[in-house]
């Protein structure tokens, strides 16, 4: 499923051709094309800093007093890791995820994914980035109710130029991968919560993105289904996919190979180093 690290330059080059290449990524790729040891070092550097967050700030200024949701967050994530983001309500988890997902511009700081400085991408290339690099899994599934499970999975491919048969084939393959092949023709309303979650995951995977962002994906599921879904995420991570998951549920932290805790818009601590009294 996952684009291996060694293929990452191909993906970047392809995305660039499609209008999604990052200006910031060019220097890194140029450097990588130099001598073999130097090139390998550049690749290792990018893999180590697959997600590179520096001084991230976000202030919401509505009608009332401005609210500082993020206050200078710094973070790096290695490619292929399974990162859990925890913290109390209002700690900035969802804001961080929406900025990482290219949905909301930060007030200050920068955020890089695979060497691409997201908020330096011109115009609608951020949308291209979301399509080519990210797979979103939302808490409430967010499946389109009038499209079948298969059509929902095909949704990100709708605006891609590829033969219809190939789109269908790829969506069917992903549905099969998440164990939902036999429910492909059903509308979301006819699926159970776990099946809807699987369909949502399949939709996130269909473009073979290197990064999956999941916002409370088990929030609406019972404990048995939660285990099934988390097993699926673990399997995908095992295949090399980088996953960032926001959750309130301490039961699932055992699946993460790294867990950070946010508090008041800052990185408070990292498990297991957090103090026992740190609220999750």
């Amino acid at each position: 499923m996952r684009a291996p690290v060694t293929e990452r330059d191909d993906r970047t080059a392809g995305a660039a051709a499609a209008g999604a290449a990052a200006e910031a990524g060019e220097a890194g790729r140029d450097a990588a094309a130099q001598t073999a040891p130097a090139g390998q070092a550049a690749v290792d550097e990018r893999a180590t800093r697959f997600i590179d967050v520096r001084g991230l700030e976000k202030t919401f200024s509505g009608n009332g007093a401005p609210v500082q949701a993020l206050r200078g967050l710094d973070l790096t994530v290695v490619e292929g890791s399974f990162l859990g983001v925890m913290g109390q309500s209002g700690s900035g988890k969802s804001t961080f995820l929406s900025i990482l997902g290219g949905l909301s511009h930060p007030t200050a700081g920068s955020i890089g994914v695979d060497g691409i400085d997201l908020y330096k991408l011109p115009g609608e290339r951020l949308a291209d980035f979301r399509r080519e690099y990210l797979g979103f899994v939302f808490q409430s599934f967010n499946l389109v109710p009038y499209l079948t499970a298969l059509e929902n999975v095909m949704l990100p491919l709708t605006v891609k130029r590829m033969p219809g048969a190939e789109k269908r084939e790829r969506a069917e393959s992903v549905l099969d991968h998440v164990g939902l092949a036999d429910r492909a023709g059903h509308l979301p309303g006819k699926l159970s919560g776990g099946e809807q979650e699987r369909a949502a995951i399949a939709r996130a995977l269909v473009n073979e993105p290197p990064l999956i962002l999941a916002d409370e994906p088990t929030g609406a599921l019972d404990s048995e289904t939660t285990v099934e879904i988390m097993d699926l995420f673990a399997r995908l991570n095992g295949e090399g996919m980088t996953i960032v998951m926001v959750t309130h549920n301490p039961e699932i932290k055992r699946y993460f190979d790294r867990t950070i805790v946010l508090r008041d818009g800052r990185l408070d601590c990292e498990l297991p180093a957090c103090a026992a009294e740190t609220p999750l």
């Binding site: 949905l103 979103f136 389109v144 009038y146 949704l155 605006v159």
Partner: protein, 385 residues
């Protein structure tokens, strides 16, 4: 899967909203089609009447009026009473300077008679001139009367008297042979028995008298107004009416109706656009969350805008076709009531224009909602994220 799959699926899922959208455009387009085809049909009828009758002129005694329909069009009154026309008036007409502009001169004498116990109208006429002038007369079987003992029966008269070709009918003691049956005209001519003028004058006891004289003036020889003026001068006791004036006034009325129709069309299009705008804005606002999902998974703004416009255009296209059919159906239903003899004017261009109107109006009215949808902030749209 393409954008159109999503558009079709959404329209199908939100049937009530889609039906409301289609109905809004359909009513607008249907009204426009009905108004335009009605005015076109009425104009066509008035113009056809002009072509058919040319500058026909009716000479009637100037006196107490009774209504008379001529070729399905009211031409004012025909006098009855003391003043009558005579053979001498025919000679006066023959003597006007513009005589060469007159192609047909058809004197008529009409009177009520009883035959087989039924009251009906007997018309005395010069059959050759009468049939030439009234070219809508058609003898289904037989021929026009050739002598004073022959008669042609109008459709209603033949039915009332149970007349067939070759039958005899006795009027005031004179026996006539039915030599022809007029095809139904839908007018007063259906009530007539038509016979030779001299014979009818004798039967009615009005030798040398005429009820009216119909005159066909050639186009382009002498202005019709001049012919009318000369006839007026030659026949001071008669009333001379040019059919052209009647037709012209009908055309003028149709023109006024046409202008009014265009104004209505403008208002209808504006209302239609408003209905589309409100419906599409409602649809976009209702789908805020869904649009947020589309944006989050990589749809560009232009994709969202295109999707909304596509839905509007699909609905408009359907509404355009249905609206044209509905409009023409209304025309068929209404036209007989507003213009009895008019034929529905089929205009292929109107079909194309109706569909184009629906699509353009639907598209333009949906432009702002579509752009608004494209500009939606995905975070705002998703809220949760």
């Amino acid at each position: 899967m393409r954008l159109r799959t999503i558009a079709f699926s959404n329209l199908w899922r939100r049937k009530a909203r889609a039906a409301f959208l289609v109905a809004g455009i359909l009513i607008g387009v249907g009204t426009v089609v009905a108004l335009l085809s009605l005015t076109e049909s009425m104009t066509g009828q008035a113009q056809a009447t002009m072509q058919t009758y040319g500058a026909n002129i009716v000479v009637a005694p100037d006196g107490k009026d009774v209504g008379l329909s001529y070729g399905g069009m009211s031409i004012g009154g025909v006098s009855v009473g003391d003043k009558v026309l005579s053979q001498a008036d025919l000679e006066r007409i023959e003597s006007i300077p513009a005589r060469s502009a007159i192609s047909v001169l058809a004197p008529e004498l009409v009177g009520a008679v009883t035959a087989k116990g039924q009251r009906l109208l007997l018309m005395g006429a010069d059959p050759a001139a009468e049939f030439k002038l009234k070219n809508w007369w058609s003898v289904d079987t037989g021929r026009p009367p050739a002598n004073g003992h022959e008669v042609v029966a109008g459709a209603a008269a033949a039915k009332a008297l149970h007349l067939q070709m070759g039958d005899y009918v006795t009027i005031r003691g004179r026996r006539f042979t039915v030599t022809g049956l007029l095809r139904e005209t839908g007018g007063q001519d259906d009530q007539l028995l038509i016979a030779d003028l001299g014979a009818v004058q004798r039967i009615l006891g009005k030798p040398g008298q005429l009820t009216l004289i119909q005159v066909a003036a050639k186009y382009g020889v002498t202005p019709v107004d001049e012919v009318v003026r000369q006839l007026d001068a030659a026949l001071p006791q008669a009333k001379v009416t040019a059919m052209q004036e009647v037709v012209k006034s009908r055309l003028h009325a149709v023109d006024q109706f046409k202008g009014f129709s265009y104004a209505i069309v403008g208002v209808v299009i504006a209302i239609e656009a408003l209905v589309v705008f409100i419906t599409m804005m409602g649809s976009v606002n209702e789908r805020t969350h869904e649009i947020g999902v589309f944006r989050a998974i990589g749809f560009r703004r232009v994709h969202i805008t295109r999707l909304i416009l596509l839905e509007a255009v699909v609905a408009s296209l359907l509404a355009g076709v249905l609206g044209y059919v509905a409009g023409m159906a209304v025309t068929y239903a209404v036209l007989p009531a507003v213009a009895k003899e008019a034929q529905v004017a089929w205009m292929p261009l109107l079909a194309v224009a109706a569909i184009a109107l629906a699509v353009v109006t639907g598209g333009l009215a949906s432009l702002y909602p579509a752009l608004h949808a494209g500009k939606m902030d995905p975070t705002e749209a998703l809220r949760a994220l």
